[in-house]
Amino acid sequence: MTFPLFQFAAPQAFFPIAGKMIPWFSILAGALALAGLYVGFFVAPTDATQGEAYRIIFIHVPAAWMSMFLYLVMAGWAAVGLALNTRLSGMMASAIAPTGALFTFIALWTGALWGRPTWGAYWVWDARLTSELVLLFLYLGFIALKSAISDPTRADRAGAILALVGVVNVPIIYFSVQWWNTLHQGASVSLTRAPSMATTMLWGMLLMALAAWMYSIATALARVRHIILERERDAEWVRLQREGLRAAA
């Protein structure tokens, strides 16, 4: 273990550096969101067919991206935790899950608000909507399983197995559009061909996606700090920190 990054696998070492990173990611998230919303609501042109209602995609698409990406990140941490038996990995997976569930919910909610004026219904049983709903259930199941097991090590491992089984579902979500090919429009942004939308729209969406990304990092770090304190409350360094805080007050 000469690679210096492994130092931070110890919760005690990660706690202070996470604390230092949170303000930076929060500021970045706020600035990017302001810029993205400005571009999205004031600069981007009105859509020819969907009118102003389309502007909800500046929140909807980044949220949908993050909801799937965060599940992958969570499952990645879970796999690391299972393979290397590191405590921090399980804590990271626990810290990411609520943010992932939140973005899944936002994606579904904004999708419903966009669907009403565009498709004429809040909800349609399209494959991508349904898989996003299933993703929300997977997040909720992960959180429920973790909270139902009182022993943290056991909870981490059981959650990790569940996350790895559930991760099979994420590619199904992504390819469901091609598989079932129903009502939901195909992806508008692709790496291999020119995007089928105005450049300013694309910029607004990318800025918002980056903002969502920074927000996720900031909240996950904040949450993991709470989890570390909760689980290590009897450790020497937490006791010292508590006494230091008391002395400062």
Partner: protein, 222 residues
């Protein structure tokens, strides 16, 4: 290894034969659920025919979830499960025998009882055959993935409801393609693709399910 498989399977069968109620309850539950749907949605024959496969598949899903908590509970309570974990036989073989037992005691009876629901809902004969075929390929997936859920929730607070929450979302592809095969044949589309995809899920879950179940059992009895 084959001996261990046969031994565990025979034991599952013997226990089930001595407590026939457990197996029969699941079967009766399946038929009751199927019979109550028309009372809720009305007796219109065309509507019922279109719903038949979905109702039969949902009934099978719920019946499977209902029967899963028992899969390890008794063995866990009397210490047999611990002996299985420390035995020299690979845990995967024992888990696979448990899966086979679960399928023979729930999946297979449900498949054989499905024509009752099919006839109640006025399914034509070829669609009825497809319903049986899709259940025959699909119900082992329920047992294979379900065993992982049962192992994960072993000895956990609120196990039954939690098991349903964990495992039902994973059953979605089976439900979609299982019921889809029958609906496709009703609308004159070749259902081969649906059955092939079901077969693909069976192949994937026969690897993922027992692996996850073994890992979860080791965590639960750590």
């Amino acid at each position: 290894m084959l001996d261990a498989f046969a031994l565990v399977l025979r034991r599952e069968m013997q226990i089930a034969l001595r407590r026939k109620g457990d197996v029969l309850n699941v079967l009766v539950f399946f038929i009751v659920v199927g019979s109550l749907f028309p009372l809720g949605v009305g007796p219109e024959p065309n509507q019922l025919r279109a719903m038949a496969a979905g109702v039969a598949w949902l009934g099978a899903l719920l019946a499977a979830v209902l029967s899963l908590p028992r899969l390890f509970a008794a063995d866990h309570a009397d210490g047999t499960l611990e002996q299985m974990l420390v035995s020299p036989q690979p845990l995967g073989v024992i888990v696979l025998a448990k899966v086979a037992g679960h399928w023979l005691l729930t999946g297979l009876p449900l498949t054989l009882a499905a024509p009752i629901i099919g006839l109640q809902y006025g399914l034509p004969l070829d669609a009825l055959g497809l319903l049986i075929a899709s259940l025959l390929i699909g119900t082992p997936v329920l047992s294979l993935l379900g065993v992982a859920g049962a192992a994960l929730t072993l000895g956990v607070r609120g196990g039954g409801a939690l098991l349903a929450l964990l495992i039902l979302p994973l059953f979605v592809p089976v439900l979609v393609f299982g019921a889809g095969a029958v609906t496709a044949s009703l609308t004159g589309i070749n259902p081969g693709a649906h059955l092939s995809l079901l077969g693909a899920f069976l192949a994937v879950s026969s690897f993922v399910g027992p692996w996850a179940a073994c890992a979860a059992l080791r965590v639960a009895l750590d």
